[in-house]
């Protein structure tokens, strides 16, 4: 299954991916798997989405077709053509 995945500006900036295209196509079936594939492709992202033990940071958020996912939905199956956005949550100002 092909999913179009976007990374938020912060993730692209911190992962050193600003020169990469805004979105990329990933063959995976859940948001968590998509993230794994992308981190495999760009290891510089790892520290911004996983902790030292490899667990997902609570600041990592997923949106599917602009809908924010609940943590229990992170492993749910995506549909062909879904658009996934991965965001580094942050609160400031």
């Amino acid at each position: 299954m092909k999913i179009r995945v976007g990374l938020s500006y912060l993730l692209r900036q911190f992962g050193g991916l600003t020169a990469e295209p805004d979105t990329m196509e990933v063959a995976a079936s859940t948001p968590l798997e998509c993230l794994q594939v992308i981190v495999g492709r760009f290891p510089s992202l790892r520290q911004w989405v996983y902790d030292k033990e490899g667990s997902l940071l609570t600041s990592t958020m997923f949106f599917v077709n602009k809908e924010k996912l609940l943590p229990r939905e992170f492993a749910s199956t995506l549909k062909d053509g879904d658009e996934l956005l991965i965001v580094l949550a942050f609160a400031g100002g």
Partner: protein, 621 residues
């Protein structure tokens, strides 16, 4: 015990008298300091019926046990009094470098009473204090007055609080500046202006007292490491608070076009953290005194009509106030207009909100250029905003209407303008959209000072990066931000914690890296009171109810726990499209948890449990 002793400098400007007083230790323990202590002082000392801009109102410039210490996030102090904007209890917090000098001069706060006949400033050097003539400074703005007074009183050693023209002219949302930082909210600069107090200069040669310096240093070390390891603190250091623009746009938290647009990603891309901290605009970074995070930007403008300027860059709130909410995507203009607000001494949140309301009135034909003195307040018009800011600060022409704040200005404009005034209890709403964070909606409706995202951490809770297991305030709460159910008891707990932080006084960003043990150890070792976390939470509760009770005495009732119609109407596009806040349900769950009676006053049982019999006697006479 040499900790936080509550040593106050009491200045009566009507009589030209200065005296030294000390706060009772029992009061300090129960109200901690900062805005907590201010609530108690207001209860005891101010007639609730006074006009906020009359000599009978008092201005409290207060430190807490943490203020001015070398703890990262410990630079802050509070400015409090009755607000001319909301007519109720008001607090405004400021970073910068003033608190460290005030405390090293041997003072924990300044109480200003009365009003001078001519412009004056207060000069404090250790235990000496003097009221000096400020006639030559009147009419000047913050940057210039700060420069002149530093030059006059010993350069870097002198720490200065100032008001600009907005404060002098009593614009109801004028703030007080400490260099680049502003105690911006609630109009405390107007109160200072009403007293003809142009500035306060402090020089101190002592040390900031700590009851247990070793224990404090140990905890400080732990926190510095935690901040280093914390993703949010790292982001703050790299991109400043404006990093939130990017995330806010994705979650539906970023308002646009006076809160009518739900999809603001295009403007976010041009005004977000990476742009402000990118090579085009970043000249450097700065920190408040003692902070290792360095979230402050120094910005530069190299092209266009504002080219050639370098200075303090905007925070998230300033970027949205002057950016997406006015449909402006020109980063250089946003930086410049933010600086104008700071220099004139206007709260950028309220200024942006009042101008956005006027722009919407213009769009709907409620206002025209005849009303505004020829200024075409249409969406995105930078030139119009640049003209409007000084007019507000000087109360010139249509600026005099907007200087009254969104609520009063809308009432004056009439013809349905109130529909476009986005405020709670008279305080313009900060730029985090509660339709995307229902817990924040309840927090806005019930905060101790009107709509506020820093009176408690409900906003951080909604983003999923807040983790205080001691209070069961966990990152997983973010899962419920799209629903109204269940927030009542959580917001109550969040408010109790917020009161402690603001009484401390501790930078809000640091509740993201602390836990209950850190907070308890810090406040105990700094103050000398052997607090437990449970006792602190009770202090938080007591402080919240005292602030609320003071506001009740000033006229606030349950009917004021409301949100503007704009925020109760879902957006039609963007990530929060269709989400409707059920405020009625939230208030129903919140009131019993909060210990409020149905008319909005703290219940008699709550007051008795918290030892607030003095407040009970005034509320239930």
């Amino acid at each position: 015990m040499a900790g936080f002793d509550g040593k106050m400098l009491e200045v009566n400007l009507s009589r030209g008298e200065i005296k030294k007083t000390a706060i009772d230790k029992g009061v300090l323990r129960k109200f901690i300091g900062g805005s907590g202590l201010a609530a108690k002082l207001m209860l005891d000392r101010i007639d609730p019926k006074v006009d906020a801009l009359s000599p009978q109102n008092e201005l409290y410039i207060l430190c807490g046990p943490i203020s001015g210490t070398a703890l990262p996030g410990g630079a802050r102090f509070s400015v409090c009094g009755k607000s001319p904007l909301t007519n109720m209890f008001a607090e405004s917090c400021c970073g910068g470098d003033f608190a460290s000098k005030l405390r090293s001069a041997g003072w924990d706060g300044i109480i200003v009473q009365g009003a001078s006949k001519k412009p004056v400033y207060l000069y404090v050097e250790d235990q000496k204090a003097e009221i000096k003539d400020a006639s030559d400074l009147w009419g000047k703005n913050n940057v210039e007055v700060n420069r002149v007074l530093k030059e006059r009183h010993g350069g870097r050693d002198a720490r200065v609080l100032t008001i600009g023209e907005a404060g002098e002219n009593q614009a109801r949302y004028a703030g007080i500046a400490n260099g680049r930082s502003l105690a911006a909210r609630c109009g405390m600069g107007a109160v200072m202006g009403s007293k003809k107090l142009k500035a306060v200069v402090v020089k101190g040669s002592g040390k900031v007292p700590l009851a247990d310096p070793e224990k404090f240093a140990e905890r400080r070390k732990i926190l510095i490491q935690k901040a280093k390891d914390n993703i949010a603190a790292q982001v703050l250091g790299m991109l400043g608070t404006n990093a939130a623009v990017d995330v806010s746009a994705a979650t539906g938290d970023l308002p646009g076009k006076n809160w009518s647009s739900g999809d603001n990603t295009a403007i976010a891309a041009k005004t977000g953290g990476p742009v402000l901290s990118g090579p085009q605009f970043l000249a450097g970074t700065e920190s408040c005194f003692g902070c290792t995070v360095g979230c402050k930007r120094i910005s530069k403008i190299t092209e266009g009509p504002f080219a050639g300027w370098t200075g303090p860059g905007p925070e998230y709130e300033g970027v949205v106030a002057m950016g997406s909410n006015l449909v402006i995507d020109d980063m250089a203009a946003v930086i410049w207009m933010n600086e104008m607000c700071n220099d004139f001494g206007l709260d950028v949140i309220s200024t942006g909100s009042c101008i956005a309301m006027a722009m919407e009135c213009m769009e709907h034909g409620i206002l025209n250029t005849k009303d505004t003195g020829g200024i075409d307040l249409k969406w995105g018009n930078v030139d119009a905003v640049v003209k409007m800011i000084p007019m507000i600060a000087r109360r010139e022409g249509f600026g005099a209407t907007l200087a009254e704040g969104a609520r009063r200005a809308a009432q004056k404009i009439g013809k349905g303008a109130s529909e476009y005034a986005v405020e709670v209890k008279g305080l313009e709403v900060p730029y985090h959209d509660p339709r995307a964070h229902h817990g924040l909606a309840l927090s806005y409706a019930t905060s101790a000072r009107g709509a506020c995202h820093t009176n408690d951490p409900a906003y951080s809770m909604g983003t999923g990066i807040f983790n205080w297991p001691e209070l069961d305030l966990l990152p997983t709460l973010a899962a419920g931000v799209r629903e109204s159910k269940g927030w009542g008891p959580l917001v109550k707990k969040s408010q109790d914690l917020g009161q402690i932080i603001n009484a401390g006084v501790i930078c809000y960003m640091f509740n993201l890296v602390m836990n209950g043990e850190d907070l308890t150890e810090l406040l105990s070792s700094a103050s000398g009171f052997d607090y437990t976390f449970a006792e602190l939470i009770e202090c938080g509760e007591r402080i919240w109810h005292t602030k609320r009770g003071v506001s009740n005495l000033m006229g606030i009732t349950a009917a004021d726990d409301a949100l503007p119609k704009r925020l109760l109407t879902p957006t039609t596009e963007g990530p929060a499209a269709g989400l409707k806040i059920d405020l009625e349900l939230m208030l129903k769950e919140y009131y019993p948890a909060r210990g409020l009676s149905s008319d909005g006053r703290p219940s008699k049982e709550t007051l008795s449990r918290l030892g607030l019999s003095d407040l009970a006697a005034k509320l239930y006479r």
